[in-house]
């Protein structure tokens, strides 16, 4: 398979929306309960940008550099194997040059620090990200102001930012639009909100688009994903 085909099969295409010319200064949110593959989807989102020769910053709160790097390596390997990608080695090396991981200890994360770091990176000509994924951001403990600040940053730096959030259980914790806690009061800040759910008696994962302009993709509001590669599964429709 060629690189181009791979790009098209990526579910993120459908989230970003082809008609949506302006990809930048958007915020997206991936929600799921623990263990369903939020990080995997974030990596996939990053991978999509990387495949398109754009640069990505991966912010990981509470996970080590090596572990985060492993996510990319494993994911790439799985995809390359599953899709029989041509010259995988070369593509891997070239896209990984466009990726930058910044890790924070759980207690040390702050918006100001992150902003400073990003400015440094751009100034030093190390990387000029087009997409940023933030994994392990604590939605329970942070207040709205931080996210508003992030939004502001997305605008000034011309960035697309994707977050992951663990859903917490609770009966009346869903917002009107169906966004589960802890993000039920924050959905206005995000352009896209998706929820990952396991499909009963199937090895696929359901990607439900709760909010987003790209919701009208040709596949409707639900995409079925292969849990290993997070690619769209045609045979599972």
């Amino acid at each position: 398979m060629l690189k181009q085909e791979l790009i098209e099969k990526n579910p993120i295409r459908h989230l970003k929306g082809e008609s949506d010319a302006k990809e930048s200064s958007r915020m997206g949110l991936v929600m799921a309960r623990a263990g369903l593959g939020k990080t995997a989807l974030l990596v996939q989102i990053a991978m999509d940008s990387l495949m398109n020769d754009k640069q990505v910053v991966h912010v990981s709160v509470g996970q080590s550099l090596d572990k985060t790097k492993l996510w990319y390596d494993d994911m790439f390997k799985d995809i390359a194997e599953a899709c029989k990608l041509d010259n995988a080695g070369e593509i891997h090396d070239s896209i990984m040059r466009n990726r930058m991981i910044i890790t924070f200890n759980e207690s040390k994360f702050s918006l100001a620090k992150l902003e400073e770091r990003l400015h440094d990176l751009v100034q030093q000509n190390v990387i000029k990200p087009n997409c940023m994924v933030v994994d392990g951001f604590d939605f329970v403990k942070t207040d709205r102001a931080v996210l508003e600040g992030m939004r502001e940053m997305a605008k000034t730096m011309d960035l697309q930012i994707w977050f992951s959030a663990v859903t917490t259980d609770g009966v009346d914790s869903q917002s009107a639009a169906g966004v589960p806690a802890p993000c039920n009061g924050l959905e206005d800040l995000f352009n896209t909100v998706v929820l990952l759910q396991p499909i009963a008696q199937s090895d696929c994962i359901d990607l439900k688009i709760i909010k987003g302009s790209a919701a009208v993709s040709k596949c409707g509001k639900l995409l079925k994903l292969d849990p290993k590669t997070f690619m769209i599964r045609e045979d599972c429709k």
């Binding site: 790097k69 910044i102 890790t103 990176l121 190390v126």
Partner: protein, 692 residues
């Protein structure tokens, strides 16, 4: 046998010129290991460092020996030398492994300097509990409070003073112990008479405040103390227990102060070493189970268990070869036989000694957790000894990475030649990653190791310790070649000019091998190549692997298969088939799209946050692929993968880029194909060399 809870294995680490030698001397004096104090600093007050080395040599004391033993208040203290080269990982790693706790010495004027930062970080990595000692409080400009602040900010330690100095600089009288609330004076010519009195009135207020702060900090580690503090009745024992608990957990660093030169505070430091630093059973050490893929197993620290001991340092002393070992469990007895796990060789424990500063004591046995020296044991440092039997454990990983860089060295004269071979012999024993051989083509001696600095250190040591002056060639990176696709061959070797002829034909293919270096596949059916000549083909292929056709580098990752051939009843021979296989390989090799691979190093640069931009820039310049950054308190760790060939001279660059505040470590990561432009350069260079 000695009570293991009364053993302390400690390291003393310090920035250059913060008084490590003086302090060590005083410790040995107060523990009655030496009987007179000699000053490091000469009367003219210059060149302290050189003086100390001369002094050691002159008096033959072994302050810098690997381990020195002394007694303090019925506790045994083994002081282990922490190497001066912080960059030199294998040696540092070994030293840090064998110590259970450490004293961090800081100069009250200089404060936390870059080397302290490095050492501290390494100790954190190896989870070594430590106490801090602010030395040189008699110097002009002494400011312990500022140093404590630096300990907190730069080293991110929870540093809390447990003493208050009575006067600073020239008029330092003594110290106030905040745990016991007593003023301590050090009388006598050598400060050896300790006098305790009530706290002088002018210090009372300051001490009350500082004690309050200390109690606040340490009561975090003990509920009992917390309650007692609230009730206003904390006892000495409670406070000491809480300090110990916090220190062992690496969450608290008690800070002491004094001046070793003016003989103040050293005895209190020794008390603290005994009270707050761990004994061998307080820390967890792990052995690797060689029967189960090097799984980690906690060592028991029990003297009656099977023996497990690590040789951490070899020394060529006045007494012959000494091997310093630390026992982790079991007992090392004179006359016992022990087994070197790496080589499987048995040896008998001849003489077992405890090293003192200027002499040694013969002992009969050493229990778990102790550090002793052995005579006449042939081993390399880093080797593990067990009592034999099925007990197959190792303290260090058996996996030794292949060297990635090499240098040619040439001795300047005959004397240097002798010394050089002595030195090389020793170094290869000490360090398994250091290798040496003679290049059969140029007849030069080649040394190879894990990095530029690694080899630099050995060349320097050759000069200093063995007086072997050598000239050093330019460092060579160990490139490799491999093939990227399958290619067939069909080669006939024929020679019929005079004498017996040679004939052999082999056909087959070579293809990339996913894992491993080389594989030979025999697919001959019907005996087109006679059985006896099949190993000859294998041999022929292997001969081709030494030098690839591109740049003459070692060829790896090749599967060679033969599936057809022909022979002659008279003219076929072993050599004929070897030559046929070599011819076939050479034919197929260039068709198989060979590429050059270069060693890629995983580089981690740690430095203050403000320099992270320029550090990244420097890595980018060197074809580095930046993987990411990790934000710690005041500094950032940047990880990148950089080709080794681009890392030459990086330490100098980095130093000038960051005012010496950043350091980097690198280790071999993998081999990766070199970019086209670089490959062309390398091939052109190889061609040029060949022509010459």
């Amino acid at each position: 046998m000695r009570d293991i809870t009364k053993v302390r294995n400690i390291g003393i680490s310090a920035h250059i010129d913060s008084g490590k030698t003086t302090l060590t001397e005083r410790i040995l004096f107060y523990t009655q290991r030496i009987h007179a104090i000699h000053e490091v600093r000469g009367k003219d007050g210059v060149g302290a460092k050189m003086d100390s080395m001369e002094l050691e040599r002159e008096r033959g004391i072994t302050i810098c020996s690997a381990a020195t033993y002394c007694d303090w208040k019925d506790h045994a203290i083994n002081i282990i030398d922490t190497p001066g080269h912080v960059d030199f990982t294998i040696e540092v790693e070994r030293a840090l492994r064998v110590l259970d706790g450490a004293v961090l010495i800081l100069c009250s004027v200089g404060g936390v300097q870059s080397q302290s930062i490095t050492v501290n970080r390494q100790m954190t990595r190896y989870r070594v509990p430590r106490v801090a000692f602010i030395n040189k409080c008699d110097r002009t400009g002494a400011n312990p409070d500022r140093v404590i602040k630096q300990l907190r900010e730069k080293l991110a330690l929870n540093a809390v003073p447990i003493q208050v100095p009575m006067g600073l600089e020239g008029d330092m009288q003594g110290l106030i112990d905040l745990v016991r609330m007593k003023a301590v004076y050090f009388d006598g010519e050598n400060g050896d008479k300790i006098r305790e009195e009530e706290i002088p009135a002018q210090y009372q207020e300051e001490c009350d405040i500082k004690r309050e702060e200390m109690l606040d900090a340490v009561s975090m580690f003990s509920d009992e103390l917390m309650e007692a503090v609230l009730e206003g009745t904390p006892t000495e024992e409670m406070i000491m227990a809480a300090i110990r608990k916090g220190t062992l957990a690496l969450e608290f660093t008690p800070v002491m102060m004094g001046t070793a030169y003016k003989n103040k505070g050293v005895q209190l430091l020794l008390d603290a070493v005994v009270s707050y630093l761990p004994c061998p059973t307080d820390v967890e050490n792990f052995a690797l189970d060689l029967d189960h893929e090097e799984a980690e197993v906690k060592v028991s620290n029990i003297s009656s268990d099977p023996l497990l001991a690590l040789a951490f340092k070899l020394e060529d002393g006045r007494y012959g070869q000494l091997t310093y070992v630390r026992t982790y469990q079991g007992t090392l007895k004179k006359g016992d036989s022990i087994v070197n796990v790496r080589t499987g060789k048995k040896a008998k424990v001849g003489r077992l000694v405890r090293m003192h500063s200027d002499d040694m004591e013969e002992i009969d046995e050493a229990g778990a957790g102790d550090i002793v020296a052995l005579f006449g044991i042939d081993c390399a440092s880093g080797d593990t000894f067990t009592g034999g039997g099925d007990y197959n454990f190792s303290m260090t990983s058996m996996h030794v990475p292949a060297p990635v860089i090499s240098l040619s060295i040439t001795p300047i004269d005959n004397k240097a030649q002798d010394n050089m071979s002595k030195a090389l012999n020793r170094f290869t024993k000490e360090d398994p990653t250091f290798k040496t051989f003679v290049d059969p083509e140029t007849m030069e001696t080649i040394i190879s190791g894990m990095g530029e600095l690694h080899l630099d250190v050995y060349v320097e040591r050759m000069k200093r310790e063995y007086k072997a002056e050598v000239t050093v060639g330019a460092p060579q990176v160990a490139y490799r070649e491999t093939i990227t696709q399958r290619a067939d061959f069909n080669y006939t070797h024929k020679k019929q000019t005079g004498g017996s002829g040679q004939f052999g034909r082999v056909a087959g293919f070579i293809e990339p091998l996913e894992e491993g270096e080389y594989e030979f596949v025999d697919q001959i059916v019907g005996g087109s190549v006679p059985r006896e000549y099949i190993p000859s083909c294998d041999k022929g292929f292997q001969k081709c692997l030494d030098k690839g056709a591109l740049v003459g580098a070692h060829v790896t990752g090749v599967r060679c298969a033969i599936n057809d051939g022909a022979s002659h009843a008279v003219d076929s021979s072993d050599i004929a088939f070897q030559l046929a296989a070599m011819g076939g390989f050479k034919d197929a090799y260039l068709k198989a799209k060979p590429v050059i691979m270069e060693p890629i190093m995983k580089v981690a640069v740690e430095g203050p946050t403000e320099f992270q931009g320029s550090i990244m820039g420097s890595l980018n310049q060197r074809r580095g692929m930046i993987i990411g950054t990790n934000e710690e308190d005041a500094y950032t760790v940047i990880e990148a993968e950089v080709p080794l060939s681009e890392m030459f001279g990086y330490s100098t660059d980095l130093r000038s880029l960051t005012q010496g505040k950043a350091e980097f470590t690198m280790e071999f990561a993998t081999y990766r194909q070199v970019p086209k432009s670089v490959a062309e350069e390398l091939i052109a260079k190889a061609l040029k060399n060949k022509k010459q």
